[in-house]
């Protein structure tokens, strides 16, 4: 009855999900199931794990027996426990055990290296057990291109991680949970924006043009972060040419195969899990909130650069600030806003606050939530799985918080039409929404767009509102706006934007198995994505004269405009492939061949309208001013045929050949098609006779080698076609921007595939009864004919050089994964634990580039990618005399541009606290020389911006229903020279009007009393086009880090308890993400990951997450 209920419920969900509601499915009243008592006869049934528990009145009986292995040898030390209780024992040297257990309970026999076995105790007193050796590590099924293989049969470089490993992390995106789990799958996040996807890279630089791995979701290209993590069965990374050859055209950057869960055979299983938590700041947020000190430090820096101060506060104003310097809140006698006459005698607000802008603008606790539900099961000839996931989080803005939400739905149905034909449908739907208030881009990443950033001009001396409640905007004392009006636009709450993403993908598939060993698969996929966004700007008002409201003059706040944009993209994929396998004596053959084609079309519509009739309604119908329309469309197609042939002899010697003949519409007809073959071989050394003595320790050993070629078609859609774009320019005629047709960019006469040739050697081994496993690979990859800006042409050419197949690159690297799994008995219960680590590294060098003068402004032969050229700095001058003495020999002026432009003679002088720059080439002047490799001036290679030694470390253990997992992830070394707009690194040295100065900032600034400071003599803008903005060895940062990425603790309730509520499994857990970071980065006000993508670090901050939830199966 119970089962019928669950089946009914699942059927209801299933039918609802396929939009064909069948009322009959609900004809099983729930009262039939709920409250129904189980009878003992059920317990004696075939239920494998006796989940429907027992009546408490059962009597204990003594059970004994012997545990043997498959050869009949007894196994000592096997843990024998009663499931769901703390009762247990272990076998003796003869493999014997004896235990008193309640009748009807389930015994669990477990021992490392063997598959655990469960036995239900009925009324027998002897239970002998034979444990099968656990060869899962090698028998594991690994997903490969257009098929699967056993791990032992693999000859290419393939890593796989199971969905179980991923789903215990309460994160929204799959890329977040993949970070650090697979060696040389490099995942980087440049921002903590809700919904942010990670950048994926496999094995480092494949091309100087960049490019990312091909992600296939159930065989169809897609966005990895639009997948529900809980739907994932496994993620497989194909790293070398051999493994990815069947995807030749797009596999140069590696391939990631995401396989979703299949429908489970048997009765319906319902899984539900949830997670609730909050995000909080990851970096230090202890800032100076004293109006006095913030003003003082900024003003000092600006004065030393320009001869003027930022606040323009007089001594009298400073006196007022000083009186309030300790007032954390407004003291009635000393208000933060006073009214004083301005220069013209008119009454004006004057601000003397100690306002904490950071905590006013940003929320310290941002709630997150997630729910996940799936139903899976089968009936006679039909298997089904439906799942849904919803999650959301509130963003970092406090006043009108930004919000992110996403939904995933999936249905998978397989029907066996007859013995040889199965048809299936696999459909998924994704939707996400991000809405925010404020500027069109609250966190500008555009290098010099400072005019829209909260990092500037939120002086604690200023406050957000005047006493009469009006918003502040300008002090009227200096000419700057308060925080570029960021607070005003937030408080106003009518300027806002929204981004929507929808994706629908459906695959129809037929699998034909006409004769044994032969299998033909045909599928067709249609996908559609709609990306839409709008941004609405409304004019914002402020007040600086009591009783007078004025419009902000800033363009961003003085605009009444609605922008809308819709991208409608569609794709169709056809796959047709077949495989045939056969064993002839000790020879095994498998052949696979197929055909694939894909076409994608992209279409954009955009519109902007000015002056809307309402501030609250946002529709283009309400536009009364100017309209601007935009469009855009493109399409591309791919087509290819592929094959793979496997052969092995006695399971010892393996050989594989595969390849693909591929064409893309992105190249001209004559250059369109390419053939990309690969070969690989493997030798299972441990199967050899001579290996037997070693087998006790080293259980298996396999050596692999592969060689192959892949192509990269990842160039601009119409790179080979000369075309003329259109647009608008900033030249008005009669109040209209002129529309223009641009001249075509030059196109190289021939453009074709970049090819990457990979040599890979690998080793897989297991030790100590398979407790320790090791997998290692090393590779050399030569990328040939990279599409790049060719030889530098003289400027008179008048255009950037067209891309040609003109450069070669060599990347070398390795990756290692080690795992240790074991268990021991602790307090009579098994303590299982595992330690796993991954480590990877690579370096890349240019091996061909037409740059005979070795100009450093372009690539050159022998160049290591990521090299940073910089000057050598030798600390601060101790005295001005020392500085002047040095200045007489070495002219630093070309670098000291800020000092040279200082307002007074004293400030212009090279002096104590200034940085000493070494004249490496000894010519008496600091310069870039001819900017060639032979004459780099006074620069040398001081570091490298590529990540080295990326790693992950996973520790997990479980005992007595408790489980614990700890995950570390990091980068061994990576250099970053702080960008000139990295305000939270340079503070007043970048722009002397910083909002958020570190609490200890004064200690970092040089002064005669503080000669060992981190920063030099306090000159504003010194990090902008001056000695601190050019790379040097003194301020170069190592942003390598180790992060405690995740810590989670769970407890699974004993099944005897949960089964009373018909719950098969109930786990409660709590989890923390990004708990702690160790790094050599000199500041803790920036996160190393934040500057890896955007070197200014002015991105949406990354976050720490704390959460808890339940996982429920019934």
């Amino acid at each position: 009855m119970k089962n019928r209920f669950i089946e009914g419920l699942s059927a209801a969900l299933l039918t609802a999900s396929i939009l064909c509601f069948d009322a009959k499915a609900m004809d099983h009243p729930s009262s039939n199931g709920v409250g129904h008592k189980m009878t003992p006869s059920h317990l004696g049934g075939s239920s494998p794990d006796g989940k429907f528990s027992l009546s408490p009145a059962s009597e204990d009986i003594v059970v004994s027996g012997v545990v043997r292995d498959s050869r009949g040898e007894p196994i000592p030390g096997v843990t024998v426990s009663v499931q769901g209780t703390s009762t247990g024992t272990a076998t003796d040297l003869d493999g014997r055990y004896s235990l008193a257990v309640p009748e009807g309970s389930t015994l669990v026999f477990s021992f490392i290296g063997f598959v655990s076995q469960r036995m239900v105790v009925e009324n027998q007193s002897t239970i002998d057990v034979t444990l099968e050796e656990d060869v899962a590590a090698l028998e594991e099924i690994v997903v490969v291109g257009y098929g699967t293989q056993k791990r032992i049969n693999l000859t290419g470089a393939v890593s796989q991680v199971s969905g179980e490993q991923l789903e215990n992390r309460p994160v929204q995106n799959l890329t977040q949970s993949l970070q650090g789990t697979i060696p040389n799958l490099n995942v980087t996040f440049g921002s903590g924006k809700p919904g942010q996807s990670g950048n994926l890279n496999i094995r480092g630089n494949t091309s100087i043009n960049g490019g990312s791995p091909l992600v296939l979701i159930d065989g169809v290209p897609g966005d990895i972060d639009r997948i529900n993590t809980y739907d994932v069965e496994s993620v497989t990374v194909l790293k070398d040419a051999s493994a990815s050859a069947v995807y030749g055209a797009r596999a140069a950057f590696g391939v990631i195969l995401v396989t979703t869960k299949k429908a489970k055979e048997g009765k319906a299983i319902i899984n539900y899990s949830n997670n609730f938590g909050f995000k909080t700041h990851l970096t230090n947020t202890d800032f100076i909130t004293s109006g006095y000190w913030n003003a003082k430090l900024n003003d000092e820096a600006m004065y030393n650069a320009l001869g003027n101060t930022n606040t323009r506060y007089t001594d009298e104003d400073y006196e007022e600030l000083w009186q309030r310097v300790n007032d954390k809140t407004e003291h009635p006698d000393r208000p933060w806003v006073v009214v004083k006459p301005n220069a013209n005698g008119r009454d004006m607000y004057r601000y003397y606050g100690n306002f904490d802008w950071f905590n006013y603008l940003f929320n310290e606790r941002r709630p997150t939530h997630q729910h996940n539900l799936s139903v899976s099961g089968s009936s006679d000839k039909l298997r089904y799985l439906v799942s849904a996931n919803m999650s959301g989080e509130e963003g970092i803005w406090k006043i009108n918080p930004d919000n992110y939400s996403r939904y995933n739905m999936r249905s998978k149905i397989d029907v066996d039409l007859n013995k040889i034909l199965t048809v299936s449908n696999n459909t998924r739907f994704f939707k996400s929404n991000y809405s925010w208030f404020g500027l069109e881009n609250n966190f500008p990443t555009v290098t010099n767009n400072v005019a829209a950033n909260h990092l500037y001009h939120f002086m604690p001396a200023y406050v957000p509102r005047n006493p009469d409640g009006t918003l502040t905007g300008y002090t009227g004392v200096n000419s700057y706006s308060v925080g570029y009006g960021m607070h005003a636009i937030m408080e106003n709450g009518k300027s806002k934007g929204e981004e929507n993403e929808n994706e629908f993908v459906t695959t129809f598939e037929a699998i034909l198995t006409p004769i044994k060993g032969l299998r033909v698969t045909a599928n067709y996929t249609y996908g559609q994505e709609t990306l839409s966004n709008y941004y609405r700007a409304v004019r914002v008002q402020y007040s600086k004269f009591p009783g007078v409201l004025e419009n902000f003059a800033l363009g961003n706040l003085n605009r009444d405009q609605l922008k809308e944009r819709i991208n409608m993209n569609q794709f169709q994929v056809v796959n047709l492939f077949g495989d045939y396998e056969r064993n002839i004596n000790e020879h095994y053959f498998k052949v696979m061949a197929g055909f694939n084609q894909e076409v994608r079309t992209f279409k954009t519509l955009s519109a902007t309208g000015n002056e809307l009739l309402s501030e609250d309604l946002n529709d283009l119908n309400l536009v009364s001013g100017e309209h601007v329309l935009g469009g855009g469309a493109s399409e591309w197609a791919l087509r290819g045929a592929f094959y793979r042939v496997n052969y092995d002899y006695k399971g010892k010697y393996f050989f594989e050949a595969s390849g693909r003949y591929d064409g893309t519409s992105r190249f001209a007809k004559s250059d369109r098609f390419g053939f990309f073959p690969s070969f690989s071989t493997g030798w299972v050394v441990s199967e050899e006779k001579f290996f037997d003595p070693l087998e006790k320790v080293l259980n298996t050993l396999k050596l692999r080698y592969s060689y192959g070629t892949l192509g990269n078609q990842d160039v601009a859609t119409y790179a080979y076609i000369s075309s003329m774009s259109t647009g608008l320019i900033s030249y008005l005629v009669d109040g209209q921007r002129l529309n223009v047709i641009n001249n075509p960019a030059p196109v190289a006469p021939s453009l074709t595939w970049e090819r990457s040739v990979t040599n890979n050697i690998g080793l897989d081994a297991t030790f100590f009864a398979n407790r320790l496993s090791l997998s290692a690979d090393a590779y050399i990859r030569d990328t040939e004919d990279m599409l790049t800006l060719g030889k530098t042409l003289p400027e008179v050419f008048g255009a950037s050089e067209p891309r040609e197949n003109a450069a070669d690159l060599r990347t070398k690297g390795f990756e290692i994964a080690i795992n240790w799994n074991d268990e021991f008995t602790l307090g009579n219960k098994p303590f299982r634990y595992s330690i796993g680590g991954v480590l990877a590294d690579y370096t890349a060098e240019i091996t061909r580039f037409d740059n005979p003068n070795k100009l450093l402004s372009n690539y050159y032969e022998g160049q290591r990618l990521g090299d940073i050229w910089g000057y050598s700095y030798d600390g601060f001058f101790k005295t001005t005399a020392e500085a002047q003495e040095y200045a007489a020999i070495v002219n630093q002026d070309p670098i000291n541009r800020r000092r040279v432009q200082a307002p007074t003679a004293e400030l212009k002088m090279l002096q104590a606290g200034d940085i000493k720059i070494l004249d490496l080439d000894g010519n008496g002047i600091i310069s870039t020389g001819a900017n060639t490799l032979d004459d780099p001036g006074d620069r040398r290679i001081i570091g490298n911006s590529q990540p080295r030694y990326t790693f992950g470390l996973n520790l997990s253990g479980s005992w007595n229903n408790f489980d614990l997992a700890v995950f570390f992830q990091g980068v061994g070394r990576q250099h970053w020279y702080p960008h000139l707009e990295s305000q939270q690194f340079w503070h007043t040295y970048a722009r002397p009007y910083g909002s958020f100065l570190p609490a200890n900032y004064q200690d970092m600034i040089w002064s005669p009393e503080n000669p060992d400071s981190y920063f030099p003599f306090h000159r504003g803008y010194a990090a902008q086009n001056s000695e601190m903005s050019v790379a040097n060895d003194m301020y170069l940062q190592d942003i390598g880090y180790i992060r405690l990425k995740n810590l989670s603790i769970g407890y699974t309730l004993p099944s005897e308890l949960t089964s009373r509520f018909r719950v098969e499994r109930l786990r409660i857990y709590t989890s923390a993400e990004n708990l702690h970071t160790w790094t050599k980065l000199e500041t803790d006000y920036l996160d190393p990951e934040e500057v890896m993508i955007d070197p200014t670090g002015r991105t949406y901050p990354m976050a720490k997450t704390f959460s808890a939830g339940i996982q429920l199966t019934f």
């Binding site: 013209n344 591309w636 045929a641 064409g663 008005l732 400027e795």
Partner: protein
């Protein structure tokens, strides 16, 4: 096995079929193809619209350094004025993308069949090619001439040596003559017309004529003749005039009009807040962040008295304070900088010079709009070609050529004087009494018209200040060494309090040492922060006192060719005096 074979066969057939169908042929859907372009006039117009972006933007007109040269000073001194220019690796003005855009058009426009219409657009392209090459010659002297798009394998053209400036100037003349002949003869403030081409021709050949004359390059006479002819044609056409209203306001009004005046503006760059397309002249003039521009004292002294006599003839002119020196002067002075009684547009209260925002104390009012525009939302149009310049070009070219008479002055400079109610320039008087103040500045002027030429230069400086002409004027007159002089601001006789506008209240306090207690509405200047000639004893404000300024007569009139270009093209010779180590 048979089935397997069949399957493979089918797959093979399918994949082979794929090689020869249309599935893989995908062409751009939202971009035009050059192969079938320029077949409609709309396309010709849209393509040639792209040329307009080369015209200077507002910032290039009112702020660009070194173009303002010694007209105003900032807290920073550009390399050109210091003599600290170095040979750049790349860039440095050696940019040729605009020429490619133009030549591509001229190479392909023949696809349009109507020759008459095509000629108009060809004329526009050639106007812009002349404009492009004029800027290149101004900067580099000799430059290679290209009248067609260079292909990437065209080594001969890519590695060409420079053509002589004489050769290039002849080509410019041809382009401009074609443009003058074929461009629309109607008037338009924002579009290039025949009249714009004439104005450019007037400008280019005045530059080239005087440059050659003062740098000893032959052929200057013909160049000046070309300029004179162009100016004369423009003047004689009668299509343009001088904007007038009240002499006390007309000059100032002209530069704060929201839409350029079509009488005087031959070509202007349009700004419009509703687009939005705006500039920040108020912010750049009035804030402390953009170098605090201030007009130099020497410029203020150049303005004549209101009766036409010379201010600098006054025995005490060097020690006059701001109030005294601004009385009874050429009305253009009080319409260019803040003078006593100045009120911002729409304001009732008087605004004094803001020493915090103006390094010399002489603070611009030219172009500056009402306070509502202080935050970067100004939208007054900016002059590119103004009729007044043509009149000045005409007078100067004729004077330098030696063919001028009083009637030429009456049809040119007199119009500018009339606008502001100033007496006209008397040629004979000027030649008989060369102004020693000007003689001291322009040391290379000689000959019968010396006195007149000096006066024309005065007139040009006064009339065209802040419009981006001064730097090139100094180059063509070979007066670069003027830039090495010390730059001065207002005069004050030492520490103390001042009522600078004589309205009865103290508005400025110059102090030494500790700052006095603040009094609202009063400005404070600290001796030391602001350097005076005689320290606490006052004198003129010395701008950027510690900046060393040098001018190399043999090198600094031209810019260097970037090193990378010389590495890539060994045939490219460096300009004289520039050392790049190659």
């Amino acid at each position: 096995m048979k089935l397997l074979k069949n399957t493979i066969a089918v797959l093979t057939i399918l994949s082979v079929m794929s090689c020869n169908d249309d599935f893989m042929e995908r062409y751009p859907l939202s971009q035009l193809s050059p192969e079938n372009s320029f077949t409609s006039e709309t396309e010709l117009q849209a393509y040639t619209n792209g040329f307009y972006s080369v015209f200077p933007a507002a910032l290039d007109v009112f702020y660009h350094n070194p173009l303002q040269a010694d007209d105003d000073a900032r807290t920073t001194v550009p390399d050109e004025l210091r003599g600290s220019r170095t040979v750049p690796t790349t860039g440095g003005g050696w940019n040729w993308s605009e020429l490619r855009r133009i030549n591509f058009f001229l190479d392909h426009s023949h696809r349009f069949e109507n020759e008459q219409i095509r000629a108009q657009y060809d004329a526009l392209a050639r106007f812009f090619r002349a404009y492009f090459y004029y800027e290149k010659v101004q900067r580099f002297g000799d430059v290679p001439w290209y009248d067609t798009v260079i292909e990437m394998d065209d080594e001969e053209n890519l590695l060409r040596a420079r053509d002589s400036r004489e050769f290039v100037m002849e080509r410019i003349a041809e382009d401009l003559d074609y443009a003058i002949e074929h461009l629309d003869a109607g008037k338009s403030v924002y579009r290039v017309t025949k009249w714009t081409a004439l104005a450019l021709k007037s400008r280019v050949f005045l530059f080239e004529g005087t440059f050659r004359k003062y740098h000893g390059i032959p052929g200057w006479e013909q160049m000046l003749d070309l300029s004179i002819a162009a100016s004369d044609e423009l003047i004689s056409s009668g299509g343009y005039g001088i904007y007038t209203s009240s002499p006390e306001t007309a000059y100032h009004e002209l530069f704060v009009l929201k839409d350029a005046d079509p009488t005087e503006m031959i070509l202007a760059r349009q700004y419009d807040a509703s687009v939005p397309f705006v500039h920040s002249v108020n912010f750049y003039t009035l804030s402390v962040s953009y170098g605090r521009p201030g007009v130099l004292r020497q410029v203020v002294q150049s303005y004549l008295n209101a009766d036409g006599t010379r201010f600098t003839d006054h025995p005490e002119y060097e020690t006059m304070q701001w109030f005294e020196e601004t009385q009874n002067r050429d009305p253009r002075l009080s319409q260019t900088i803040r003078t006593p009684g100045y009120k911002r547009i729409g304001e009732n209260s008087v605004s004094l010079p803001d020493f915090a925002a103006s390094i010399t104390g002489y603070q611009y009012t030219k172009f500056v709009l009402a306070p509502a525009y202080d935050q970067g939302n100004c939208d007054n149009d900016m002059p590119i070609f103004r009729y007044a310049e043509i009149l000045l070009n005409y007078a100067e070219a004729k004077a330098e050529r030696g063919t001028i008479d009083q009637s030429d002055i009456d049809r040119s400079i007199k119009l500018l004087r009339d606008r502001v109610g100033m007496p006209s320039l008397d040629m004979d008087y000027a030649n008989a009494n060369p102004d020693p103040f000007l003689e001291d500045q322009y040391v290379n002027v000689s000959g019968a018209n010396k006195g007149l030429i000096l006066e024309i230069r005065r007139e040009r400086r006064v009339e065209l200040i802040r419009e981006g002409h001064r730097w090139h004027d100094l180059l063509r007159w070979r007066e670069g060494s003027l830039l090495t002089r010390e730059f001065h601001g207002m005069y004050f006789p030492g520490v103390g309090t001042y009522d600078i506008d004589r309205d009865g209240t103290i508005d400025l306090h110059i102090y030494e040492g500790e700052r006095p207690a603040s009094v609202p509405g009063r400005q404070y200047i600290s001796i030391g922060e602001v350097v005076f000639e005689h320290g606490a004893a006052g004198g003129r404000i010395v701008v950027n006192p510690s900046v060393v300024k040098e001018w190399d007569e043999n090198k600094d009139y031209l810019y260097p060719i970037p090193t990378q270009e010389r590495l890539l093209n060994p045939n490219l010779q460096q300009n004289p005096g520039w050392v790049d180590g190659i």
